[in-house]
């Protein structure tokens, strides 16, 4: 395999130091725990988008579908284990009527996350045959439609709270630092995602995805089973997106069907921005992009309050028009020009 794909000692060191930072960060900056957790989930979002988009060339604008499905699936399982979901949502889930003790809460998470993965992966597998036969901008807009339709439909289902949304279970006092717990679970997910994708991309499957990106009909004419490869990538990405969605729901606590779960115009497009900003088609790119994006977003929220979404929209335009190869792409081009080694 070519240099860009192997885990060189330099890269292992980079990943190890990132990991070490990840482990101590919430302890050093307790005030930023939720933003850090969000960052880890954003890393998963960006990596997943890039697997199907940057690596395989299928630019989805509707990955929020899987985030939202995971979010709701986990929340529903978490509640259903203890209470009637319909009643819980009718009473807006809050207050003292619906209390979760430590073991209920933990069991809920332990079962909710796999449920999220399963539901998202299943949805991806079912939709894949229909949607992955489309190409380019048709795929992009079709997925956009799917994502937004899901949000609109969810907003009409009273059992899950309809337009008023749904609250994830209240973490019990007795459990202590639940935000910290969520952080480390998210860290585990981000690490798992990174390692899984690193492995996938180091095999011929990774090359196959790139071949599909570069010339799908040629790959098909060479006998590569393109449909199976596409569906596999799509399902794997959906699974991780579902898990991340489950955690995200528990992080923000309140799941609004349109603004939080199936948020096409925010999370849905942010994950594209992150991958592009960092460098699409690379393993490091989405990670770097997520970090830069999260920092930028927090700065915008602090200093541009009220206008932060405008700022992010402008950033999307800037990156799409002037900086599409992203940070990693930019560094590589500079290195190549000066004859150096790829980072």
């Amino acid at each position: 395999m070519s240099d860009a794909r192997t885990l060189t000692p330099k890269r292992l060191l980079l990943i190890a130091s990132l990991l070490a930072t990840g482990i101590v960060a919430p302890l050093l900056f307790p005030a930023y725990q939720s933003q850090l957790t969000e960052l880890l989930l954003f890393i998963v979002f960006a990596l997943c988008w890039d697997l199907v988009g940057g690596q395989m060339g299928y630019n989805s604008f509707g990955n929020v579908l899987f985030v939202g499905l995971g979010m709701y699936a986990a929340a529903i399982v978490q509640v259903w284990l203890v209470y009637d979901v319909g009643l819980y949502n009718a009473a807006r889930g809050g207050g003292t009527a619906f209390v979760f003790d430590a073991s209920q809460f933990l069991t809920g998470l332990a079962l909710g996350i796999p449920a999220a993965v399963l539901i998202s992966a299943l949805a991806a597998w079912l939709l894949g045959s229909l949607v992955l036969t489309m190409r380019g901008h048709y795929f992009a807009i079709c997925t956009l439609g799917l994502g937004i339709a899901a949000g609109q439909i969810a907003a009409g289902i009273p059992w899950i709270g309809a337009g008023s949304g749904m609250l994830t279970p209240n973490p019990p006092e007795s459990l202590g630092h639940v935000p910290l717990l969520l952080y480390y679970v998210a860290l585990g997910l981000a690490v798992l995602c990174t390692l899984t994708f690193a492995w996938l991309l180091s095999t011929r499957f990774g090359l196959a995805l790139n071949a599909i990106r570069d010339d799908e009909d040629k790959a098909e004419a060479m006998g590569l089973k393109t449909h199976a490869a596409k569906v596999t990538a799509w399902v794997v990405a959906a699974g991780f997106l579902g898990a991340a969605g489950a955690l995200y729901g528990n992080l923000v606590r309140f799941i609004d069907p349109i603004q939080t779960a199936f948020a096409g115009a925010t999370i849905g497009v942010w994950m594209i921005l992150m991958a592009l900003l960092g460098g699409r088609g690379t393993l490091l790119g989405p990670i770097v992009g997520a970090i830069v994006f999260q920092v930028t977003k927090e700065l915008f929220w602090t200093y541009l309050l009220g206008w932060q979404r405008v700022g992010l929209g402008l950033l999307i335009i800037l990156v799409a028009v002037f900086f599409p190869s992203g940070i990693v792409g930019f560094v590589r081009e500079r290195n190549a020009a000066s004859g150096g080694e790829k980072p």
Partner: protein, 247 residues
């Protein structure tokens, strides 16, 4: 002996234009067969129908005795029928070496087999074939950065790496530096003799076809005009008419 590839009465129309009109040809196993004809005579269309890229109106196409005209490109490729294109198609975002790695026996392999790192034998085969086409020094170059001629050679190497039984070549020498054309011819002969690959070649370059092919088909206006050994075709009045008339 049964022909490896047999097309009978293949007809393909695009709207009102009949690109292939009842074309029949046969390629014997182990042979090198040429397909010539003036521009617009339907040669590439015929390739497209054989490889399943476009459906046919009527006729039959049999490969290894099995009817393939209703099959899709992927299935046909997996049964051993591979092609190259007039404008070389390679995976531009991958290095030369990776292009080869993703092509080695890809038509044979199981889907699950994709999830293993490339094995030793595959790496050796890649080295061998890159050497065969003279692209070893360009292993690390992005395929999209190769010259036209280099891409054509890479495409040929990729096709050979895929262990084809029948290889359809669409103008393999077009755009290649004339000084290198003999190299390409030699390599094709070796591929045929040593690797046992049957070849069906579209060519405009007459000396190349005369040198390589054992049997030649000539198309004109979508119909089969003449067939026979190269020398006979070269002197066939109809064929000369078709070329001079079209010129």
């Amino acid at each position: 002996m049964m022909a490896l590839l047999e097309a009978v009465g293949v007809t393909k129309a695009f709207g009102g234009v009949v690109a292939n009109d009842g074309v029949s040809l046969a390629v014997a196993e182990g042979a090198i067969v040429g397909l010539i004809g003036p521009n617009g005579s339907g040669k590439t269309t015929l390739f497209n129908t054989i490889t399943g890229a476009i459906p046919i109106e009527s006729g039959s196409i049999r490969f290894k005795g099995k009817e393939i005209s209703q099959l899709l490109t992927g299935g046909i490729a997996r049964s051993g029928l591979i092609r190259t294109y007039q404008q070389p198609r390679v995976y531009g975002g991958l290095t030369t070496r990776d292009n080869m790695l993703v092509s080695v026996s890809i038509r044979h392999g199981s889907f699950a087999g994709l999830f293993r790192r490339a094995r030793e034998e595959a790496q050796e085969k890649v080295d061998e074939l890159l050497d065969f086409v003279g692209l070893t020094e360009k292993s690390g170059t992005l395929a999209g950065d190769l010259s036209f001629g280099q891409q054509k050679l890479l495409e040929l190497a990729m096709a050979l790496a895929n262990e084809p039984e029948l290889l359809l070549l669409d103008e393999p020498t077009a755009g290649i530096n004339p000084a290198l054309i003999n190299d390409v011819i030699d390599r094709l002969k070796v591929a045929n003799a040593a690797l046992g690959v049957t070849l069906l070649i579209i060519e405009h370059n007459m000396p190349v076809i005369m040198d390589l092919a054992q049997h030649v088909y000539c198309l004109a206006h979508g119909r089969l005009l003449a067939e026979g050994p190269p020398q006979a075709i070269q002197n066939d009045a109809l064929v000369l008419d078709a070329y001079l008339g079209a010129a």
